[in-house]
Symmetry: none
DNA sequence: GATGAATGAGACTTCATTCAT
DNA sequence: CATGAATGAAGTCTCATTCAT
């Protein structure tokens, strides 16, 4: 039984991977179940054995991806001590992971968003989840006095929005500069936006109006 | 002839408005041309007389909307003198217009993005256009010494992303707090992000020589 | 009034010519009334003023063309005295006229035939008409003793069929040998088929089994 | 698997038969896939599972029919020894088979010809194939000295044309005289046209050494 | 008389889903 | 468990025809 379950798990993974690939390429509506099945090296019936329908595939893909990403973000947060550094770390992980998995990022930020209510709602919920993780750190930072009080919910959402737009561009256009440069500039921008300095590396350019350093 | 042309213009507008409504409600793929026609009080054939296909309708809607918005943003920019105030004004207009026309904002930022390559490309191009307008002001601000040098292209894009995510949320969920509060917080956030000070309460008043630091 | 009638006649001719061109190019079903109107330098409404519908246009074209061709054939027959020579002359005129007006030949033998019952019926009727003209001469030739008795109705039909297939090929494929050579061979073939010799020119090859010469 | 394949084969045959029936009745353009499906006792989707499109159905029908007919003609030719008798046998088989399968003959000679370029081209190619088979025999007959030299390509084509026109009429009008009489007359006509003598009554008996000249 | 916007029936095609083998 | 033939709803688009201007 365990062997069978493992096999089933494997099959599901294969279908999910295939779905991500096909959906990124064709969009959700034009992603035929047939094509997903083919790319997963199974048949239409096989897909329907593992998932109740096409909708469930994308939803599962979304949840699966989100869970993986959440784990990474949580680990990154746990690795830091200071709230601002933690928020910063979360940001970095999100950026790098999305950049590394362009296909998934595309599915998340482009295809699922426009695929219909249920998908949009799920994406929104997942974004909220990550925004909440960031907001939590920002709240702590305010509590600690590391940054001035501000609308942390809005800030978290704005960060996510900025991150999305930057990553999407990086993922969408053929290939531009290395992500590193972009990352550095974006960090500077976002940390400044909440009145914090760059933790670590380059606080060379003083952030006007920022008074306290949230050093690592 | 002029009468006929006027009628045709009117009909096109009606179709475009209907399309926006139906697409916002159902999404692009599920927006049946039949339903658009019904909502535009015409027939399927009527729609196809005015537009070569369904795709062209959304594209036209995108362009039409973008043109209107561009006009507003240009006017808002022209009404200010200082680059930072101009960027701020552009932001304000974008925010308020999108909030006011939630349907169009939804079509733009949600439905069109996931409707397929051509639409995504068009949306991207239009966003770039607005980002360029903002970047131009930021570049001038740097030149003037109003703000420190920074990656203005990235900043403009990040601003757009932050704006989008905030407005989209405001538009998507039933209706929450007045937009004013959100707007104020967002301005603060974004201006800070480029190291600028918050211009006086009313953006109509030039920021020139603004002294107020939000420091401790 | 006469001026108006003449004008109307001209318009109709123009439409008929345009219809022939478009139908030959696209086939009857794919020949849009719009395109016929455009090619006739008028509008859709204009076409419908002169013809009750699309069907009537092709029918009129068929009749118009047949009437012209009939005139030519009758003249050619009248120019000869001997029945066999007359049949031969009719054949020659049909062949040359069809070859000269490839577009009309195509409409007649290809597009109209497959355009639906009413058209096929009309084409059949017209073919019968020409076959009857030929048969009449063959009957006379039999009466005169110029050729042996035979199934003249069948012979006339077979001649038409042979003629059609040869001309159609000549019209359909880009461009082959001059029609003259083909014509000579076909005459030989068809006259031999009824046991007659080539009237005139080249009776060089004796037609085995022919008893009487139907010399001019 | 073999069961499934057999079923699929059967279904395809059923669809092809239904298509022939509907197309003969309505013409290619007016033959709705819906109606073909209904007559084949399947669904629209079923038809599209077996054929990529409506066009492919007619093309397949054409090829299928041509292959069957080719087999018959080849067999008939192989059953004779003398070239002229072989050509005659080919003719006989074509005539009788077309007469027996009026529906297919109609589809071939009427509906497909006017259904558009691709169909017309295919029909032409198939006709050429049969004409070539006949021409080959005529060439051999010339070589053997059985008939005088002549334009065998033209003769073969003319034969096909004559045959077509006769059979089509026989098929199109409700039903007239028995085909036998027509067949006999046509044979006489066509054999005479190439200067050959009518082989003995039964085409089964080889013409070898036929001496009877109906000449002077 | 002419124009062309508008209508609406109808065609082809796609594809998620089901189920017998 | 897997396969793939079959279903049928739904969608886009075309075009002959009408009629107000």
């Amino acid at each position: 039984m365990t062997v069978q379950q493992a096999r089933a798990r494997t099959r599901q993974q294969r279908i999910l991977r295939a779905a991500a690939s096909v959906i990124a390429r064709r969009g959700y509506r034009d992603a035929a179940v047939d094509e997903i099945a083919r790319e997963a090296a199974t048949s239409k019936g096989g897909v329907y054995f593992h998932f109740p329908g096409k909708e469930a595939i994308l939803l599962a893909l979304l949840d699966h991806t989100a869970a993986l990403l959440r784990g990474k973000v949580e680990a990154a947060i746990a690795a830091e001590r200071e709230p601002v550094a933690r928020a910063d770390a979360a940001l970095t992980v999100l950026l790098q992971t999305m950049a590394r998995h362009g296909t998934l990022a595309r599915v998340f930020a482009v295809e699922a968003v426009g695929a219909g209510r249920p998908f949009h709602a799920r994406v929104t919920a997942i974004q909220d989840e990550f925004a909440a993780m960031i907001q939590e750190q920002l709240d702590l930072a305010v509590e600690d006095g590391a940054i001035e009080p501000l609308d942390t919910a809005l800030a978290a959402r704005a960060w996510m929005g900025a991150l999305y737009s930057v990553v999407l561009r990086w993922v969408t256009v053929p290939q531009r500069a290395p992500l590193e440069a972009t990352h550095a500039s974006l960090r500077l921008l976002l940390l400044r936006s909440i009145g914090a300095e760059l933790p670590g590396a380059a606080p060379a350019i003083p952030v006007r109006g920022a008074r306290r350093s949230s050093g690592t």
